[in-house]
Amino acid sequence: MSMAELRTAAGSWDELVDGEGAARPAAAELVQHLDELGLAELQQRQDLAELDIVGMGITFTVYSDGRGIDRAWPFDVIPRVIGADEWRRIERGLVQRLNAINLFIDDVYHDQRIVKEGVFPAHLLEHSVNFRPECVGVSPKYGVWAHISGSDLVRDADGTMYVLEDNLRVPSGVSYVLENRAISKRAFADLFAKQSILPVDAYTDELNRMLSSLAPDGVPEPTIAVLTPGIFNSAYFEHSFLAQRIGAALVEGADLVVADDECVYMRTIGGLERVHVIYRRVDDLFIDPEVFRPDSALGVPGLMRAWRAGNVAIANAPGAGVADDKVVYAWVPDMIRYYLAEEPLLPNVPTYRCLYADERQYVIDHIAELVVKPANESGGYGLLIGNRASRTELDAAIANIEADPRNWVAQPILSLSTAPTLCDGQIEPRHLDLRPFILSGATNYVSAGGLTRVALRRGSLVVNSSQGGGSKDTWIVEG
């Protein structure tokens, strides 16, 4: 295999090689190593990695015909490399961002200073589907609501890293970061020995520490539970994985009960046992049928009472999703300036808010050059990429926007960066993004790297595993 084979996609930034096909500095060792291995050996390592994944039972669930099917986790053996210096800048930017977002959420459920001072439009809150009036006046410890978040980063053709969105409700994927590393260490043991690649394993310890710190005062050794919707949830593997790593009980709604003392207990073989901290992986509309959806079988009746009484901590706090909204996203740079009096270290992707007549008109006039997104969907559903859509699809999107302008935002089509990826026995450039995970409690922690998701279909920009995406290990390499 020669460098010439590490082709780049026209008009995109490649993470491993530059426009001339020369290795980027942080990836130099890797590219040289790939060169020495040759395609056949690399394919063999890919095959072994896939065997490991099946053998270790690393799966995710996809839905087809109303049935959940357990699929092996799609993984590409060639890692994505980021230099440590660049990574430290990204880390600072993420911490800054989450600090501002948490101040915003806490403000929104208390005095709403940011609204009163005219920085954030009042009607946005009034119409937000993620604003929970039930959370007004609650003060979670440290003023933190979004304890575990995953912000998606993309790199444009000029090499700029942008924040594409912030996932503040129940972001998933971190278990695959750790699993990908375990597999990648087997595939490239020699390289790990030779250079300094930041380890990712500390994440679960940090998670444990952060969750423990949320416990009600006077509980030195809190009992932590991970609340899962159950085995049929697409991220169940991760829920189980994280519970194991942090020594928490993995519970379903029916395992928990709120007693007359407004404390939360789990049903164990020895009777009821108090739970102090709940890491919930259930959307907040489902956590308490007394308060939210009465038909929810996933939740725990009375959980909100227990939380408001301060008898149990819930991470992420109910209501944190108010800032996880593709419309609110557009104000994050303003939040950073308002609460922290700092300039954003990581830029937002320019975002047109269909709510405003002028921005809406721009979107309608330029729809073929934009990505149109619904404000409150995750998993890539409902997304329209203007330059790949038919006229009929574009017209349908315009009709949707005009019918409900608040629910739509649009952004320029970024040419997501690529990395060489093994596809059908050949190395080809494929588009990718990056989801680092940020922990917020008394202090902040950012995962070393994050989950690199890659669109395995040629030319595709959709990286979600539910829609044909795969993943790569992410190496933060000291220069």
Partner: protein, 313 residues
Amino acid sequence: MLLSRVADNVYWGSRYLERAEDTARVVRSFTELILDLPTGIASSWEPLLAVVGGRDQFDASHVRAEESDIVRFLVADESNHGSVVASVAQARENLRTAREVLPREAWQAVNDLYLFTGHDRESGVDRRSRARFLSRVITDSQRLDGVLTGSMRRDEAYELWRLGQAIERADMTTRVLGVRAASLLALAEQPDGFEDFDEVQWMGVLRSLTALQMYQRSHRGPIDADSVVRFLLFDVAFPRSVAGCVQRISEAFGRLPRPEHTMPAAQAVVDLLSGLPARASDGRELDQAMDRVQLALAAVHDTVYDTFVRGVI
């Protein structure tokens, strides 16, 4: 403390895996045994159905009861809940929701076995590859047992695992003995000369419970029926004897919460055993005794469920 729901999953995961291992061993040893017997005696594969269970379901879906039909039903038929393949699948399904309480390698061992049995099931039917397939099931199950013994904390999940395993084992031992008793009854109606193969059949019984070598070490001398029955029922030192299993059940109950509610059920089996006749000469008597032990074991199971899963006590 262990969640009741997870306790249920661990318990059943353990039972199903033990069932898969035991069934594999019974089919393997029966296959070996039948080669040693003259045509005319026990040339039927039907006793296997009696040991493993599922006779009614088999009859409802089969018109023939030849070797390949019965072996496929017991080993490779997914629609038969008691088959090796279905037991492994159910063990995996239960343990999927109990992964966080087991050592990681334990899940991998179950998953490996599940992938293997799903993929290679037909090789468990074909006589030439059958022993290899069944041995893989047995060794994988033992591998898992080794992982738990070697790396699992002796916590509640561990005790529930041992509990499920011991109940399932004891049940299988009584079923093997019960079926042997029934065939002794049938034998009484056979013409002379077949008794010569009595010893071979008792060897088959021991083999199907992986007990032959240990029996011979403890017994010294030719195989005799009474001592085989005594060994399989009362020898506490042998892990597949009913008494050995009940001792393990008691130990597990003692280490789990609320022993005051669970111990009486285990004690009832001990009491029952102490009053049992230890003879092979009367087939009917042995058969009925095994039925009573099975009922007592079913009561142990109900106690586990009421105490740890439903929490009604």
